[in-house]
């Protein structure tokens, strides 16, 4: 394993703040979200030592905005970002944008009971399971390992958990237990994952 991957989640959005489920729907970064990303970028810049790198991002709005701020701070041209569909957040299908987990449990108790039985393979109506996300992230990680070198990847809460889980060969319950920080990011290198605090 010779690739070094800096894995970053987008900054706080208005729907993150409101507890709303985003999936592949989108909302803007909050003021705080933009400050988090400035802090993340300034820390990242100290880790990057003028080496050439490849910059990848999910094409959703919140990750494009996050990537644009990072690029300006670390000195990468926005035009050079590789937007990759495989990095999009897990979609909850017709539940993308739902007001909260709590509301979802109240409004669809049977669906949520089904989810409890097998959370890893559960799909919301027209949505994706964690397994399906894993299957699109796995070839992406393999590609980066083949390319080797340094990579910055800007993606999402659930995607980044599965990304780290795959990298560390974790089981499903370990992956569900991972965090989704916005004030720190991860460095994946030589089979290990290090957390880097930005604030």
């Amino acid at each position: 394993m010779s690739a070094t991957i800096y894995l970053i989640r987008h900054g706080e959005t208005t729907w993150n703040r409101a507890g709303r489920l985003q999936g592949q729907a989108d909302s803007p970064l909050t003021l705080r979200g933009t400050q988090q990303i400035e802090a993340v970028s300034n820390t990242l810049k100290r880790y990057l030592k003028n080496q050439s790198l490849t910059f990848w991002a999910s094409p959703l709005g919140r990750t494009q905005q996050t990537a644009a701020i990072i690029c300006d701070i670390i000195g990468i041209d926005f035009e050079h970002i590789k937007f990759d569909e495989r990095l999009k957040e897990i979609t909850l299908g017709s539940r993308d944008g739902y007001s909260s987990w709590h509301a979802l449990k109240n409004d669809f108790p049977e669906d949520m009971a089904k989810r409890e039985e097998d959370p890893w393979n559960y799909r919301h109506p027209k949505g994706e399971s964690s397994q399906m996300v894993l299957e699109r992230i796995e070839p992406f990680i393999q590609e980066l390992e083949l390319l080797s070198g340094t990579h910055v990847v800007v993606a999402h809460g659930v995607v980044n958990k599965i990304f780290r889980g795959l990298y560390l060969n974790l089981n499903h319950s370990q992956i569900f237990a991972l965090d989704r920080p916005q004030e720190s990011f991860h460095c994946l290198s030589e089979g290990k994952v290090a957390t880097i605090e930005a604030l």
Binding site: T14, R17, A18, P28, L29, T30, L31, R32, T34, E38, G61, Q64, Q65, A67, A68, I69, D72, I73, F78, E79
Partner: protein, 197 residues
């Protein structure tokens, strides 16, 4: 304070690259994010503790992002921002996303026609200033008496809004600026002042 505060989004990746955006969209640059914060801080000073009674934004990403940063800066609930399609930028149709060189390379003859009929000229599949001015005027007439009102929209669209407010002629509207380092206060007497950040 029976005023409307009219803001443009902060600098975007395509503003910097001198590409027309229209209905297409790119994210704010770091500079654009800082412009949005600075406009929010200035607006907070100007409002001096008064909360806006209405806050409208174009639904296009760069404006909604700017509106969100501004709302957070003045401690206005972002859930209360009202997205209005009437506030979308003028679309340049097939020219959305192009720079001047590309427009001249692909559409030089059409571009030259524009000079003679600038006000009613619409690029292929696009909108004319005249069309945009009509929707801006309808929007302004339909606004309830809720002041202070905040509007976050776009370069060309804000020009036609100011034109409608001040009852300017077409050629005067084309002369207006599209600042990102401050915003306009539209006064009840149909005048405006520029508030620099």
């Amino acid at each position: 304070m029976r005023s409307i505060y009219l803001l443009r989004h902060g600098e975007t990746v395509w503003n910097r690259a001198k590409r027309l955006q229209g209905h297409k969209d790119t994210p704010l640059t770091l500079k654009g994010v800082r412009q949005a914060r600075a406009m929010g801080d200035k607006l907070s000073q100007v409002l001096d503790g008064t909360q806006p009674r209405a806050f409208y934004s174009s639904p296009i990403g760069r404006s909604h992002q700017t509106a969100t940063i501004v709302a957070d800066s003045i401690k206005f609930d972002t859930e209360l921002i009202i997205l209005k399609k009437e506030l979308k930028e003028i679309t340049f149709g097939k020219w959305d996303g192009l720079n001047m060189e590309e427009i001249l390379a692909g559409y030089e003859a059409i571009w030259r026609q524009r000079k003679e009929v600038k006000w009613s000229f619409a690029p292929p599949d696009g909108e004319s200033y005249k069309m945009a001015s009509e929707r801006a005027n309808d929007f302004l007439i339909g606004l309830p008496d809720e002041y202070p009102t905040i509007i976050v929209a776009h370069g060309s669209l804000n020009k036609v809004i100011r034109g409608c407010w001040r009852k300017l002629k077409a050629e005067e509207i084309f002369q207006l600026d599209e600042p990102q380092n401050g915003f306009y206060e539209l006064k009840p007497d149909h005048k405006e002042i520029f508030i620099h950040v």
